[in-house]
């Protein structure tokens, strides 16, 4: 299951999507908006996606994770638009017969999402400033 949504992520639904009598383990990862980064107070995060390609990349990652760890099921939901501090920006749930595969797949999926899925985050700060977060880019004046 792959979803991009501007609504609040229903975490219980993401977990239910992967539960199965075949699974002995479920691992869920939530990315949540922190109140500060680099010592600066954050008001909200804002996510933008290249929608069609983001879905395609997420589907490729899901397929690769299922094949590598013999997952029972896998669900990935990423929020777009504004995300208030404390709220969930991404939810990844995987189920597997045993816990080793579930932990490894969950960790791999979030690591890869942060490398290849065309989704970008803007930090809206308490002081009124706002910047796109681009790892590896040291923007002049940022």
């Amino acid at each position: 299951m792959i979803e991009l949504t501007t609504d609040t992520i229903d975490v219980a639904r993401v977990i239910e999507a992967v539960r199965s009598p075949k699974a002995g383990a479920v691992v869920l990862f939530l990315g949540t908006a922190r109140e500060s980064t680099g010592g600066r107070a954050v008001r909200s995060l804002e996510y933008e996606a290249y929608d069609a390609m983001a879905r395609a990349e997420l589907a490729r990652l899901e397929a690769q994770a299922r094949a590598t760890w013999d997952l029972v099921d896998c669900a990935i939901v990423h929020r777009l638009g504004e995300v208030a501090v404390g709220q969930t920006s991404v939810a990844i749930a995987v189920s597997a017969a045993h816990r080793e595969g579930a932990f490894e797949a969950g960790r791999w999926l979030i690591d890869r999402i942060k490398e290849v899925v065309p989704i970008w985050k803007k930090e809206n700060r308490a002081d009124g400033s706002a910047d796109w977060v681009h790892p590896m880019i040291d923007l002049p004046g940022a």
Binding site: E48, A54, S89, I119, W120
Partner: protein, 81 residues
């Protein structure tokens, strides 16, 4: 050929628009597009080496020839999650 390139995040913000049109010779590759974007789109020159490009929703290397009717996007370093 005239290619429309989608822009996102910092690239969109720097250009002030969500797509630009770039004139390239027939059979040009992604490397040529990269150099043309850096020269022609304000703000992109400083980050030209960090940009990736996608052809029809898949990442494409600098050697990839650009099909005239493909969907082309400029992908700054991603920060989802």
């Amino acid at each position: 050929m005239r290619i429309r390139v989608r822009l996102f995040a910092v690239a969109r913000q720097a250009a002030g628009t969500d797509s630009v049109e770039i004139e390239l010779p027939e059979g040009a590759d992604i490397g040529q597009l990269r150099r043309a974007m850096a020269a022609g789109v304000p703000g992109l020159g400083a980050i030209v080496d960090q940009l990736r490009f996608a052809v029809d929703e898949e990442f494409a290397g600098d050697g990839t020839k650009i099909p005239p009717t493909a969907d082309i996007a400029c992908i700054p370093p991603v920060s989802g999650g």
